[in-house]
């Protein structure tokens, strides 16, 4: 049983949304409704309780050498977003019921029969992935196709991807091939490629890394994601001071009273 990961290579993505569809099909996710976002070809907008894969569409204007060979064509950047399955997962740490667990494949999984809908994971995810389904009450996100992985299958999105933009495999091997791919792209003249894998942050690495061209911020990938447990120490010290002040204030009030 190996620890697995996704490598989403946006230089290979053609924006077909097969991953979104395969994910919805396999996981029987409800429709997102017809909400026109009004930008580019992306009407999904963001990940949510019913969207576990989301293809981002970046229209870059006419940039020579990008997106087709004719100068009239727009340049396109596509990247399929997914739950990052953090090494130090904010949602997992914050979950008070123990519903959110780490699977034997290294993924972060919400057990739907244990989740009680407190929604604390929603505000503790530094990537804004987890969302509560208001109709159902519980929180949902990508399961890393835990059910498929248990049967030795690849996640639905990786299986459906026609260009192998979504790769799935053992995490160490995948990181290695990500770096090889990065070097190859740079050799080929794509000097603006980046590997998004924030191992230096308090999140401590992710199980879904991305190769993108240009600044990863373009795809709303935060440069320094923090797991909110890093704020606990400061918070509890402050709570201790607050409790001390309350106690002192009350003692003072009654102390004055008994002297009277």
């Amino acid at each position: 049983m190996s620890v697995t990961a996704f490598l989403t290579d946006s230089t290979l993505c053609i924006g077909c949304k097969a991953c979104e569809v395969a994910c919805k099909e396999w996981n029987q996710l409800p429709s997102d409704g017809f909400d026109w976002k009004g930008f580019s070809y992306d009407n999904t907008g963001q990940l949510g309780h019913s969207t576990w894969r989301h293809v981002k569409f970046v229209e870059g204007g006419v940039i020579p050498g990008q997106g087709g060979n004719s100068p009239e064509n727009f340049s396109w950047g596509f990247s399929s977003d997914v739950c990052k399955h953090c090494e130090n997962a904010g949602c997992l740490e914050a979950c008070p019921t123990g519903a959110i667990v780490r699977t034997e494949f290294g993924g972060v999984y919400i057990q739907p029969d244990v989740c009680n809908g407190c929604a604390y994971c929603v505000v503790t995810c530094p990537f804004g992935v987890v969302e509560r389904n208001r109709a159902d009450g519980r929180a949902f996100k990508c399961t890393f196709c835990y059910d498929r992985q248990k049967e030795g299958l690849q996640p639905a999105c990786a299986t459906a991807c026609p260009t192998e933009s979504i790769k799935f495999g053992e995490i160490g091997e995948l990181r290695q091939s990500a770096n090889q791919r990065l070097a190859k792209l740079q050799d080929d003249g794509f000097t603006d490629v980046h590997l998004y894998d924030p191992q230096e942050s308090s999140v401590g690495g992710i199980h879904a890394f991305f190769i993108v061209r240009g600044d990863p911020k373009t795809y709303n990938l935060p440069p320094q994601p923090e797991v909110p447990t890093t704020y606990l120490r400061k918070g509890w010290i402050s709570a201790g001071i607050a409790a001390g002040l309350m106690l002192a204030g009350t003692l003072f009030a009654f102390g004055k009273g008994s002297l009277r």
Binding site: C115, C125, P126, P222, P228, G235
Partner: protein, 295 residues
Amino acid sequence: MLRIESKQIESKQTESGQKVTAGASGQTGYYGMPVLKRPQWTVEVPLYFFVGGLSGAASLIAAVGRMSSADAQLIRHARWMAAIGGIISPALLIADLGVPSRFLNMLHVFKIQSPMSVGSWTLVAFSNSAAATAVLGEFEKRRPNSAVSVLTDASQIVSALTGLVLSTYTGVLIGATAIPARNEHVSTLPIHFAAALETAMGASIELKSSPGTKALRSSVSGWAMRAAGLLSGPLPLALRLLSLRKSNTRERGLRRAAAISSVAGSLLTRWAWVHAGKVSADDNSVPLRLRSSIE
């Protein structure tokens, strides 16, 4: 000739009310879409912060009152306030849950790293001990200095200690999250929540200029925060000072007004923090470290 078009950055709103900008770049992020999710707590939660905090403080007052042999009626009132608050609080929390019957799932595990878990266990211990204290206190009146007294005092101590945690942990709960407006203030939030100091804290927020603070000063939450500061500090102080100068008949009314003002102020404070979280989550500039966040 090849021409690189630079698109004008305009803002517009989608049907679901999110602000999007015309471009996706390292300067604007992905069409201005939020990186974080909005907090999905309903109005029950700030109301619970208020009721829970109030009953925790009431239990503390009862305990210290008992220690310093204060007026028996005051102790009795404080105990019942704590007990009733200890019943309303879990009711509010359960009402907010998606699956109310699964509240008990919170009690399957204890996780020290989850303020929500610490809070749930604290609330259970507080509600039970506060109710026990109030009920035992009634029996004790009939049989002073008996075994009942010992039991009353024991449960009083438990409820006062858990009450202290209950009044302050909610600041950690909302502070230790991914929302910038909250985590940037995590070291003052619990103090802000612990009554009394609200005005001073409100003023320090006005002076601080970290990126996430924008949400606290802008629009509705900003005005709520300022109004809350006024209601919980200067206004009651002015009313109390006035009550010293007026005749005895007006004194009581002014003191009551001062008390109501403080209570309204601390309720409004909690609501404002929850609302500011929603505004802050929508703003992608802080998590993406965009230049507009430094303004």
